[in-house]
Amino acid sequence: MEQDENDIVLVERVQNGDKQAFNLLVEKYQFRIKHLVSRFVKDSHEQEDIVQESFIKAYRAISRFRGDSAFYTWLYRIAVNTSKNYLVAMSRRPPAQDVIADEMVHSRGAERLVESNSPEQIAQNDQLVEAIKQSISALPEELKQAIQLREFDGLSYEDIAVAMNCPIGTVRSRIFRAREAIEQAIADLVE
């Protein structure tokens, strides 16, 4: 995997003591990491715990990151190991459904039980993803094609300009307009 130049800058900032830079990396990769973790663990709350733990582990170990691989590749390995360790640990513990709800109130999972496990929350998240998909399909054809060539096929602006037979400036504008339209369409669903 190719090194992402933004990641290099952000990781260097974190290594120089800038914690805030790490938040940008979390915002960037959280969904990809959760998607990865969901292959190992089915429960949404457990996935969230593992994702958080993976990021904290990555932050603690970031001084050891030397850029031999892409940052995401490194983070991916941490998330996979954290998921596997979690599964091993879970096999030694009683299953979650045997835990009495009253005991859970005093455990670290209390806030999850009350807040984030609600069907409303899940429905809202599904709604967000669905809204993005709908707004993509509602885009004018040239905007849809431009953003898909960029995000799905990973083409550079130069390559997209060749593929769409238009100037680079037009590609830049089309991709931005596509993102802007989608952002506006989901504005009510994002906190």
């Binding site: 800058v9 938040n23 899940i122």
Partner: protein, 185 residues
């Protein structure tokens, strides 16, 4: 500003613009409802949805991680990432080292070829002298060798009882004695 964020995500900004914009994003607080930071997050999410990298329940965990991160001690490990430039320098150094070993290897091969050539060509050069030496030594050897062999056998028989025998005492000496007697007959 937002168009620049779009370009930043696509890695289409030059290094100076990239650093400046990332600096601006790092120093904004999402809790202050900053639109630039929101766009950074949203544009990445759009990419995730297009690439189908979103879990069925995609709750935003960044605030939770940020809160946990505040309790963590600050990391201080500057200058640990390999820059693309430093990689090139390292590769150049490795190539230089490879070249040195390559030349040493070639020199060793050349030297061994010279040794082999000298070893094979020298006897050919003095072939006449070598033949004379072997012919005279052959004549000497045939008569001398028979006599020496007989004397040696006699000596072995005479001193057989003093030879060291690690196994069965006396058996090997006896065997030599018998075989020597048979030879003499």
């Amino acid at each position: 500003m937002h168009e620049e964020i779009s370009q930043l995500i696509d890695q289409e900004l030059n290094p100076e613009q990239r650093s400046a914009l990332l600096e601006r994003l790092i120093n904004t607080d999402t809790r202050n409802n900053d639109t630039a930071r929101k766009s950074w997050k949203c544009y990445h999410l759009i990419g995730n949805v297009i690439r189908d990298e979103v879990p069925s329940t995609g709750k935003d965990l960044s605030a939770l991680v940020r809160d946990k991160l505040e309790k963590e001690p600050t990391v201080l490990a500057p200058l640990s990432i390999k820059k693309p430039g430093s990689n090139e320098r390292q590769n150049a150094r490795q190539n230089a080292r490879k070249d040195v070993w390559k030349s040493v290897g070639l020199f060793a091969i050349a030297a061994s070829l010279v040794v082999v050539a000298v070893a094979t060509l020298m006897p050919m050069k003095f072939d006449g002298i070598a033949f004379q030496l072997t012919a005279s030594s052959k004549a000497f050897n045939t008569s001398q060798a028979i006599r020496f062999s007989q004397e040696f056998d006699e000596m072995l028989v005479k001193h057989a009882e003093f030879t060291a025998s690690p196994g069965m005492n006396g058996l090997i000496a006896y065997a030599k004695l018998v075989s020597a007697e048979k030879l003499q007959q």
